[in-house]
Amino acid sequence: MSARKAEPVGRMNETAWCPGCGNHAILKTLDAAVAEAGLDRRKLMLVSGIGQAAKLPHYTDANVFNGLHGRALPAATGIKLANHELEVIITSGDGDMYGEGGNHFLHAIRRNIGVKCFVHDNQVYGLTKGQASPTSELGFVTKIQTHGVVSVPVSPLALAIVENATFVARSSAVVPEHLQKMMVAAIRHKGFALLDILQPCVTFNKVNTWQWYKQRVKELPAGYDPANRALALETALKWGEEIPIGIIYRAERKTFEEQQPALAKGPLALTYGK
């Protein structure tokens, strides 16, 4: 048996993030959102891939599945199928979710599986020291993209809307109050929820800084109708001097779990052998 003293296992004491990183705010906000949503921590299931963002699950009190780079979504899907009473939240990076994990992103949305996907979108690969990510802007110079990025960035929100996602929102680490609202709303949503969180990476992204995001993020106008898909698409594609934040699209659709006859009797993991 391990020599460590026998206390309940909870969060790690210290994060491995840089001082000033947007991840700190996201972590704090997540804790607040979990409290506000009144979640039972024992049923809280955090899933992640690999990257700086993906370390988050270790820093709070929850069940943790910190899997492979890019594979948070299928792992979360498997977990949700095995026990749909768990509140499954993914916290992962833009590279993780839209780069290596792009195919799962496309197809998990189609399923409308009830997992909440919080993407810490710092528009860069943090953990591997600053290469471009799928959301890096055109011209972004790195040690790999020495002449600047030439591939147009993805628009994760627009992709999700086209894919018939049922909850598509954007917020940012620079507006923690708004972020908390979005997290709670995502948690309360029944199907798949995408929350793209603009996050400053103070070390490797010198373009999209705290300041940069702060100047640009702008809450959706009162009266904005998230059920209007065409409007939502238009809104999702906005990026520039103004970056809309809020629930950009919302729809109702049966979840994947609801359509699985095998789950009718309760979570498979709990009814096993019964």
């Binding site: 048996m1 391990s2 460590r4 026998a6 206390e7 309940p8 296992v9 909870g10 790690m12 024992r42 049923k43 299931m45 899933v47 690999i50 370390k55 270790h58 009190d61 929850a62 069940n63 943790v64 599945f65 910190n66 899997g67 492979l68 594979r71 979504l73 299928p74 792992a75 979360a76 899907t77 498997g78 977990i79 949700k80 199928l81 095995a82 026990n83 009473e85 768990l86 195919n103 799962h104 496309l106 197809h107 699985q260 006859p261 095998a262 789950l263 009797k265 979570p267 498979l268 993991a269 709990l270 096993y272 052998g273």
Partner: protein, 556 residues
Amino acid sequence: MDTNIRICGEAGQGVQTTGDLLTHALAAAGLHVCATQGYMSRIRGGVNSFDVRIGDAEVLGARVPAELLVVFTREALDNCRSSVAEGGLVLFDGQADDGVIALEMAKAAAAAGGSALMANAVAAGAVYALLGLDLGSLRAALSKQFAKKDESVARTNIACAEKGAELVAARRGAVKCPKPGQPFGAVVSGSETVGLAAAVAGVKVVSSYPMTPSTGVFTWLAGAADRYGIVVEQAEDEIAAINMVCGATYAGVPAMTTTSGGGFALMAEGLSLAGMCELPAVILLSQRPAPATGLPTRTGQEDLLFAAHAGHGEFPRAIFAPGSLAQAYDLTRRAFETAHRWQTPAMILIDQFLADLQRNVAPMDETLRPIDRGLLDVPPADYRRYAVTKNGVSPRAIPGAGPFVITDSDEHTADGHLTEDLAVRVEQQDKRLRKCKGMLAEFLLPEFYPAPAAEVLACWGSTWGPCREAVDLLRAAGRDVCMLHFGQVWPIDGRRVKPMVAGRKVTMVEGNATAQLGSVLKGAGALGRFKAILRYDGLPFTGPEIAERAAGRVKS
């Protein structure tokens, strides 16, 4: 004695329908049947074949000569004619010829009031007549087949069968038929058997991406999902499939993915994840000739070394390779049990030959008998997922009720949290690798048939049937030879295998070009020099072929 009936034609012409019908009917007639298939990677056209080999005793595989060949096209006739046994007959939907009986099947079906589709009933009726068999079991098989349709469908089909029999009545009994006994057992395929065993073992999540020849197991499980309470999901790709399985096992249910070589290659990273996180992921790997896309619908045993070493880093795993259908049932269950007992991935290696093989065997238990997941009843408050233990197995709990269950693909502490403490790394790696010892102790010893002899034909997986037939043939010819069949191919306990083969002349019989099990045995210190009988053209071995090659009558 046994008789071989071969049906050949284009994909989409009803080769398989006719074969399936005959297989079930002849089994019901009290014969031992063994049905095997060879088909091309296309949906229409080409030349597919379906062999129904019937005997008055167990028949374990295919053989080349056919006493009766049923062909639907001229191309099939040209292709397969050379395989007709001496004195054998051909039933051809075309022109009569020497040894070729013309039977216009579609026309006959029409004459009997049926559609062109019912040509296969006509063919089956004719086959029955040529074998000199009573149509009773064929009628019953047709009634059963169409039980869910309007009663007239079965009736018309039966009329077609009778028409077929009538049209060749002049040659009734022209093909020698083994003597039927009491009907027994049920006809099952390899795919069905693996699927059933998994369902019965309590698999609850199956996530796969279609790939021949693993799709049969996947499809069977999809069909059985409601009955057994399984979620069966077609993943977007194989990477998703294995990661869903990892997630599901973490959360507490037995889970499996089914794939073939190319898909398995994509799962290598996920396999390593299961090793690191100590997840009882089960993978069915149904082999076909490679590299790359290779021969998608053919058979081979080329993925043993890959399966044994797939995934980066070092972690324990078990690989089972069933030979018989009974073993397919038992070892599938054993894969789930081993994976759960040792909390590490387990694989089942089959191939197209075994997947598609059908025989009537003792009925298999279909009642759900879920395996023990090895969960703590009540995890203590200070529960640690990766507590260091003597046998390497840590107490397993699942998330949701009690203490947190924390798992990480990075190296981690006993808590499950990621760590860069290098002493902890060694402790955890040692813990994981300690399982190897216990797993080796559980190694399923290879089995001799019928008993140890001077000469050993060593094989694994599906080669069991053909190899056993070869041993029978060779022994009948006075040769002191036996089979040694490996139902588990990884890890191999070399120390226990060595005395089994020591002092014997060993020939590896494998469906690959490099004698992969041979090198595993060598690496395990079980075997020194050996000869090899290898085949990698995409077809399964046959008993007579192995016997001839072992006897040195053809070059190996």
